[in-house]
Symmetry: C2
Subunit: 309 residues, 2 copies
């Protein structure tokens, strides 16, 4: 059996790293998988459920002899981890990350990467509202995008090998500029998450209606928001701090738009609302046509999910 | 076979009325189902796919001889329809509606309801992003709430019969005050919908990133928003205009909260963001414990949906 990588070192053992480990094992992509997590409990769990062959209390020990190193820690911790492991990286090794922000990661990590080590920033567009080593599952990346933002002059063979790895885990790959990545993600993911967090926070303050009824009668809109707003707090704190500029840009545009709609409601301008809602409906059709979601009616979730609830 | 109602008249033949017709037929709840829609095309479709036994071009003709009349038109059209059908309602008949707003419907409809006819406002918390007579399916109400806001002094037998009907269609029932209903729904459904519409509109304006990439890389947050923002424009225009007070109240609170988070991002206040996101995570747990959603990881949709996309 020929493996794509001999030894993969996962730095951080949460949802993404755990799912990578399970997917790599399932497809036989690496001879050996080792890992590091700051928490002793996480390390024990990762060993116990078989995510990794060995765990290390120090990241610098975990990377020794690895030909692929995956930084899977919150975006705000990437720089410190890179600095710690840098002197221990083998020549010719590839280092990648799975952070949701790319410019800040490049700025924090790249200066520490030694000559002869290939740094290829990456971002799998996959996740769930759960976190921790037990949250992983091998099909997480199935049919999902995995974006890479390699710098110019990077070793093409190293990039192709890494792309092959994630392709075999089920993901589709694309390369783009880091700044462009951050703006696209600010629109499609970061700002929607902040808005969902906000709306759930508003409901929490409204004690007179929330105690049980907001939860009990939680319909389409709000229920989807609570799912988004249940995502890992540390990860998302770092995303907003590290993609500050693009998120503030999009938030400013969002507030302007919202005020225009709010004014239309206050003034009773039904034509404005109707035209706006008709335009947004068309974008949804684009997403279905792009194969990023199905047209099956889903506000009520699938019948299977319903009977379980 | 004993039916709960002899003749049900559906005024409006969209997603909700269509699903009611299919559910009533499947469970044998009405001897005869007739309908009215303004559009000739909708009437023909409803007949063709067997939603109703007969259709009428005039609402006033459809209600003759009916012992249950369901107003399933946009909230803004309820008053005019009630006025038109009022002289033709049989004594002892029950009239209900399925509007997402209750106070405005009561104000618009109640004055027209003749003595001896039981008006029981209702709202099924069910729907999908699709609309029209072909969008209906009989399991739409399965395990969903159907809220009623009957006024004091209403005939208890009439309410029980109507509750039995929707129970047999699979729904759970609850009674509450109309004003309370409107506030709860402003939090759980109306404001989240407006926010989703707004976010999708923002993306639409950002042509430099949207053309294909926002759609192509549409991740968790945004994809859920587009689904919500694909809902029927006429229905939602009316919801916002008819529940103006509660929606503007919640929107004001939302904007305040959002500005506080936006400021925390700008100032780099990570502790504030982390604490906020930790609180919102707890609400999600409440929803799962209340049985309103499952804890199955779902940001990636179910594997079945994924392979279809």
């Amino acid at each position: 059996m020929s493996f794509l990588y001999d030894r993969v070192a996962l730095i951080g053992l949460g949802l993404i790293a755990g799912s990578m480990a399970l997917a790599m094992r399932e497809k036989g992509l690496a001879r050996e998988i080792v890992g590091h997590a700051r928490s002793a409990e996480t390390r024990e769990t990762a060993l116990e459920i078989g995510l990794v062959d060995r765990v290390y209390a120090k990241a610098s020990e975990a990377v020794v002899g690895a030909d692929l190193i995956v930084l899977a820690v919150p975006v705000g911790a990437m720089g410190a981890v890179a600095e710690e492991i840098a002197p221990h990286l083998a020549a010719g090794a590839t280092i990648t990350d799975v952070g949701s922000v790319k410019q800040a990661v490049v700025t924090a990590v790249a200066p520490h990467v030694p000559q002869g080590v290939h740094f290829i920033p990456g971002h799998p567009l996959a996740g769930t509202e759960h976190s921790g080593p037990r949250a992983g599952f091998p099909s997480l990346f199935q049919n999902r995008w995995w974006l890479f933002t390699p710098s110019e002059g990077i070793d093409e063979d190293a990039v192709l090998r890494l792309e092959t790895l994630v392709n075999r885990m089920g993901a589709k790959t694309e390369r783009m500029d880091a700044a462009h990545h951050d703006l696209v993600l600010a629109v499609t993911s970061h700002t929607p998450h902040l808005i969902a967090y906000t709306m759930v926070g508003v409901a929490d303050h409204l004690k007179r209606v929330t105690e049980s009824q907001v939860v009990q009668y939680s319909a389409a809109g709000f229920r989807d928001f609570t799912r988004i707003a249940a995502s890992d707090p540390t990860m998302w704190r770092d995303v907003f701090l590290q993609n500050k500029e693009a998120v503030l840009d999009i938030l400013g545009r969002f507030t302007e738009e919202l005020f225009v709609l709010q004014r239309a409601i206050r003034m009773g301008d039904g034509d404005h609302l109707f035209d706006y809602f008709t335009r947004t409906r068309a974008i949804r059709r684009g997403i279905i046509e792009a194969g990023q979601d199905t047209s099956a009616p889903d506000f009520g979730r699938s019948p299977g999910a319903e009977t379980k609830s």
